[in-house]
């Protein structure tokens, strides 16, 4: 029983971190129909920057998210204004091609500047755990999950309670309708892309501690993150959260009771089964207007 609770708690902690990493990806898709394949590479870029700063200065890698987040907000803004705005209104397929180009450019730069080997930030608490009621909670996972909850909570508040958030959601749901009520679509798109990219600031910092990484790790990460948002419903923040927790639980339960090798396979099997019955994903809702002829 303790083993099951342990696996469930770990699954939730990991799921929270996955949700943090997937939130920006789903936000960007929801607002702009851009499938940002470079999201994984941006996470790895931040992980490298965090690892390097930590190894030189000794500053806590998860705390470095405070610096990385605004930095990545700026990177996101520039990427949108300089590159992605040029394919505004194109099909999502075009965005896959363009952002894949950005991803392999980042991978190439990291290969040249940082070398093609595994890294991992290992702060003092790296191998320590909290023990509560016989359950072991790795400190790094707990801190990572706390960062994830904070960011996701902030994102929710911004999207649901502020005019900026309403403008972002309105543009996501109906760009020309948004224009007609005075929302400047290009400004909102740049802002949404910047916010989505800013989440990699926190996600990458957490990743640098929780998972060993190297430049090409982004392929693995983008596959997982796309799986999460497809499962949850493309563009849905709540869907990303649930999809991420399903992935976290699938991984830990399979690793505990079957074998680590099977954990990812089980997750993709879950995606296939869910999509058979709900092609729109768990949280992709179908409204009256969606089924009207």
């Amino acid at each position: 029983m303790t083993q099951l609770v342990q696996a469930l708690v770990l699954g939730l902690l990991i799921g929270g971190v996955y949700a943090l990493m997937a939130s920006g990806l789903t936000l960007i898709f929801g607002v702009m129909n851009i499938i940002n394949v470079a999201h994984g590479a941006l996470l790895i870029l931040v992980a490298f920057l965090t690892w390097k700063t930590w190894s030189v200065t000794g500053i806590d890698p998860i705390l470095l998210a405070v610096v990385m987040t605004p930095l990545m907000f700026g990177v996101g803004w520039l990427l949108y204004k300089g590159v992605l705005s040029r394919i505004s209104g194109s099909s999502p397929g075009m965005s896959v091609l363009l952002t894949f180009g950005i991803a392999i450019t980042i991978e190439g730069i990291l290969n040249v500047t940082a070398g093609n080997k595994f890294r991992s930030a290992t702060p003092s608490y790296f191998s320590q755990s909290f023990r509560i009621l016989g359950i072991s909670l790795p400190k790094a996972q707990v801190y990572g999950c706390i960062a994830a909850v904070l960011v996701l909570g902030l994102l929710y508040v911004v999207l649901a309670k502020t005019w900026t958030g309403r403008a972002i959601r309105a543009t996501a749901q109906n760009p020309s309708g948004a224009a007609l009520i005075g929302i400047q679509a290009s400004g909102v798109a740049a802002l949404a892309f910047a916010i989505g990219t800013a989440t990699t600031g926190v996600g990458g910092s957490v990743l640098s501690v929780l998972y060993p990484f190297f430049p090409a790790s982004h392929y693995d990460w983008i596959s997982r993150l796309l799986g999460i948002i497809v499962l949850g419903g493309m563009g849905s923040l709540a869907g990303a959260l649930v999809g991420a927790i399903v992935l976290g639980l699938a991984e830990t339960l399979t690793a505990t009771y079957v074998s680590l090798q099977w954990s990812t396979l089980i997750f993709y099997a879950v995606i296939m089964i869910v999509l058979l019955f709900r092609p729109q994903g768990l949280f992709g809702s179908r409204l009256r207007q969606d089924v009207m002829a």
Binding site: R166, R169, Q173, G177, L180, G182, Q184, L287, R288
Partner: protein, 258 residues
């Protein structure tokens, strides 16, 4: 007075509007009719800023609108209800209507006042406040779209095919809303395929063909015009004057083009 002079505009495959000159009198309900492809909806899009004209000028009481973009045009008091799907389907009706006051967002008190006023005027805004807009019927959606536009208390209201897909009951409601808005001082420019309905609501009528104004006259004169009757009213000139009958004409196809 809303004035369009020498407008050329299109979507990349040539100009749809070819030197359009049009004057929309202040305080009037002006209805544009014409065959499919004449450029009726394009007129509204260039006025609202959704489409920038290639040549020509648009002025509202002497102020240029044609280079302002949607937000700028809205700021000058011109709001558009497009042909379809203008709402944000995943948001509640309350949120949709409040978003109509996006440009007033810094004045929370004014925003709430306007919302209450609009909700008094259009009951569905209050009755189904928390329902998602994507779950409304076509007629209900149109009501909410108009409600959203009224949040800015527009001086000019642009309506694209207000009758599209509506049953007779909804048509009555929408027609009444248009008349009420006009009675409150709003200039209305509407595009309508249902010529009989459009002209019966309007005080002025415009026939558009090939991106230019072919005929322009008081609506009741246009309805009595044999050429218009032949082309758009099924051959029989209307027997009643425009605006004299607030009830919606029978929804028969004879008054519909295309």
């Amino acid at each position: 007075m809303l004035t369009l002079s020498g407008i050329f505009a299109g979507y990349g495959g040539g100009d749809v509007l070819q030197g359009l000159d049009l004057e929309v009198p202040t305080g009037a309900i002006t209805c544009i009719v014409g065959p499919n492809g004449a450029g009726k909806s394009t007129v509204l899009r260039v006025v609202s800023g959704l489409l920038r004209p290639r040549l020509g000028t648009i002025e509202l009481d002497g102020t240029r609108l044609d280079r302002l973009g949607c937000a700028g045009v809205l700021g000058k008091g011109v709001a558009q209800v497009p042909q379809s799907q203008a709402l944000f389907p995943q948001m509640s009706i309350r949120e949709n209507v409040l978003l109509g006051g996006f440009t007033l967002r810094r004045d929370k008190r004014l925003l709430n006042q306007r919302f209450e006023r609009v909700a008094d005027l259009i009951p569905i805004v209050r009755e189904r406040s928390h329902d998602k807009a994507g779950n409304l019927s076509g007629g209900q959606r149109r009501m909410v779209e108009i409600a959203r536009c009224l949040m800015v208390e527009p001086t000019v209201l642009l309506l694209d095919e207000p009758s599209l897909g509506l049953d007779p009951m909804s048509l009555t409601g929408v027609s009444q809303l248009v008349r009420d808005a006009n009675a409150a001082g709003t200039t209305v420019l509407l595009v309508e395929q249902n010529v009989r309905l459009g002209l019966s609501m309007a005080t002025h009528g415009v026939v558009l063909e090939g991106g230019r104004v072919r005929l322009e006259a008081p609506a009741h004169e246009l309805m009595a015009n044999p050429e218009v009757a032949e082309l758009y009213l099924g051959g029989a000139p209307a027997t009643h004057g425009a605006g004299a009958h607030p009830t919606v004409p029978q929804p028969v196809d004879s008054g519909t083009v295309g």
